[in-house]
């Protein structure tokens, strides 16, 4: 459910060095410090400098590489973070556990820019404790020259004419979810009957697959090893730079939409500054700069006209509104997750 980020060691090292340099030199005058806990390479560095100048504060960034790792740390009582960017399903868990602070909309005038169409399917549509930050969706990417008559439907995985050079995500919720969407069910279903139908469908699709793959599908598609893959739009935008032949489509039956949200933990110290940063990130100009830098979409309607034409025309960035209406956010199902695990085991074991 987490989506992979670009490795960012140099950036990390630089951030750490900068932080150190600032810590050594900036002792003389007390300066408010905003501690942000986020994914690597997930805020345009120029924006951070702007915010620091505007508010006379200092932004310190710490990174995590999985929602679970972040959750474990916060749950264990780590304090000192003022702003975190977990995926939506983890936001619900954290909210249920009482780890989040309700947002003060009076301090967030830019929330009027947040895309209402996304909010309609969001887990926290009123933005009571979270503000959507970056949006990505799952879909099908393929090589235009190798996949004739491509149809934007999950049924593409039924095609036996692609020589098994096809992958689906090694992620039970995404792959079983694709089958559920194709069958017209919710990808958050807990109905045993619907899950069994989805299982049989994935087992049928599996005969056309090279493998279930979460990472290598990107390089595999770019090198022509695979001709069609099930993957995350953000990843595809990145490899499209390497191979012009790659196209992306969101299946018409609907797909899964993931969003990372901005949340302020209960233990935050700089609550006002954190609100100011959330508002700053939803300033249309900043939101556009950030989307372009990261390759995901900040769901901020006022920022859309500011994006470059090419970026706006890319279906990997902008989900067709009709498809988006049929798409869903993957929910955390708690104990019901076991049903998916069982079905996934059966899929993996089947021949």
């Amino acid at each position: 459910m987490t989506f992979p980020r670009r490795a960012a060691l140099p950036v990390l090292a630089l951030t750490a060095l900068t932080a150190l340099a600032l810590a050594l030199t900036g002792c003389s005058k007390p300066q408010p410090v905003l501690h942000v806990y986020t994914w690597a390479d997930y805020i345009q560095p120029e924006l951070i400098r702007q915010f620091e100048t505007q508010t006379g504060s200092r932004v310190v960034i710490d990174t995590f590489d999985s929602n679970e790792a972040m959750y474990a740390k916060i749950k264990a009582g780590a304090s000192g973070y003022d702003l975190i960017t977990p995926s939506s399903y983890m936001v619900s868990i954290m909210n249920r556990e009482g780890l989040l602070r309700p947002l003060d909309h009076a301090k967030l005038p830019n929330l009027k820019n947040v895309d209402p169409e996304y909010l309609a399917i969001a887990l926290d549509p009123k933005m009571q404790h979270s503000v959507p930050y970056m949006l990505t969706n799952t879909g099908i990417a393929y090589l235009k020259s190798k996949v004739p008559d491509f149809q934007a439907s999950w049924s593409a995985f039924d095609r036996a004419d692609l020589g098994r050079r096809v992958t689906m995500l090694n992620d039970m919720r995404e792959t079983i979810g694709a089958a559920l969407k194709f069958l017209g069910y919710s990808l958050n279903t807990t109905s045993d009957q619907e899950l069994e139908q989805a299982r049989d469908l994935v087992i049928r699709w599996k005969r056309n697959l090279a493998k279930f793959e979460n990472e290598q599908y990107k390089s595999g598609l770019a090198s022509g090893e695979f001709v069609m893959v099930h993957g995350y739009s953000g990843d595809i935008v990145q490899v499209q730079g390497e191979n012009e032949d790659i196209a992306f489509a969101a299946p018409q039956e609907g797909t899964s939409v993931s969003c990372d949200d901005l949340v302020i933990p209960k233990s935050a110290k700089e609550v006002d500054l954190a609100h100011a940063f959330v508002d700053f990130l939803h300033d249309p100009k900043n939101a556009a700069a950030n989307s372009e830098f990261i390759g995901y979409l900040c769901p901020n309607s006022a920022s859309y006209p500011l994006l470059p034409e090419e970026f706006r025309a890319n279906p990997a960035v902008f989900l067709d509104p009709a498809v988006r209406a049929r798409s869903e956010v993957i929910l955390d199902l708690g104990d019901e997750n076991r049903k998916y695990t069982r079905v996934w085991d059966q899929i993996k074991a089947a021949d």
């Binding site: 098994r164 050079r165 599996k206 493998k211 708690g334 997750n337 695990t341 085991d345 074991a349």
Partner: protein
């Protein structure tokens, strides 16, 4: 550790060695084993009897529920695949390593060093990089594939990667040096005049090889079997990278339970099962070997 204790020189007879010195020599490796092997294993076994919480934690109290999940009807297929891949890997490694060890031991001393170097050189490259190199070699648009198609040995849609055979091939490739080294070490100490003697007494070349050479390097063969079979049983990276949708091994299931399902107790139960599957044959072989060595006549060629 205990640096001041007088170290007995090599000339001191076995019996007179002081207990303290013996301890000071054994202690570092003993502590190493306890801290990095015994304690983690006990923790793994203990977690297998704990309940799981939905968010990846380990619950309170004790339960047998996790052990019952080992009865999962989907496991036998994976266990069977793991076992046959490991057995075939071991047999294939031995089939390559025994002639190779024999050839290396019979080569002139300088050539032996060159050959040894060639066996070791692949270790200078990261294990992961070497597996990715196989992905390049077996790439559907790669040279090998095109050559096979040109020779009519493969169709244009034949997949060389992402099936159990690719897993087997890469497993044999990665384990082979570990089989060659102990067999070469044993063969190098083997007295080849024994084979000449056998031939003089009328044995056929094959008979001499089978009845004199193979028993002579038995220890090397047993070591080679253990060091190929055990890592193959626990393989995870190879089937993950070159395996297909139906090439899962136990290692992959443990990874799924840990990273995807966030169910540490079930991962621990599987790991414990795997650890037992590895430890029991190892102890068996060790006990068997010791028994044989005690029974074997002293004159047999042994280092």
């Amino acid at each position: 550790m205990a640096a001041r204790a007088p170290r007995p020189g090599p000339a001191v007879p076995e019996g007179r060695r002081s207990r303290g010195a013996e301890w000071s020599v054994t202690l570092p490796s003993f502590l190493w084993l306890v801290a990095l092997f015994v304690v983690p294993s006990v923790i793994v076994f203990a977690i297998a009897f704990k309940p799981a919480t939905p968010y990846g934690g380990i619950g309170e109290g004790w339960t047998l529920e996790t052990i019952r999940t080992l009865g999962n009807p989907n496991y036998p297929a994976i266990v069977w695949r793991t076992i046959w891949l490991s057995v075939v890997t071991t047999v294939a490694c031995l089939l390559f390593a025994v002639p190779m060890g024999y050839f290396m031991a019979r080569a002139p001393k300088r050539r032996q060093n060159t050959l040894l170097l060639m066996v070791i050189i692949p270790f200078w490259t990261s294990f992961l990089v070497r597996i990715f190199a196989w992905k390049m070699l077996l790439h559907p648009e790669g040279l090998l594939k095109r050559a096979l198609v040109a020779l009519g040995l493969a169709g244009p849609d034949t997949q060389l990667l992402y099936n159990p055979w690719a897993v087997l091939l890469v497993l044999v490739y990665t384990e082979l040096p570990f089989a060659i080294l102990p067999i070469y070490a044993a063969a190098e100490k083997f007295d080849f005049r024994l084979i000449e003697a056998a031939r003089d007494l009328g044995a056929s070349p094959f008979r001499a090889f089978r009845s004199v050479f193979l028993p002579g390097i038995r220890r090397g063969i047993v070591t080679a079997m253990l060091v190929t079979f055990i890592p193959a049983l626990g393989a995870y990276v190879v089937p993950d990278i070159v395996g297909g949708p139906s090439s899962e091994m136990i290692g992959n299931k443990i990874a799924q339970r840990t990273f995807v399902d966030r169910n540490l107790p079930e991962a621990s139960a599987l790991s414990a099962l795997l650890a037992l599957a590895v430890l029991l044959p190892t102890f068996g072989v060790l006990v068997l070997n010791r028994g044989r060595d005690l029974l074997a006549p002293k004159s047999e060629n042994s280092p």
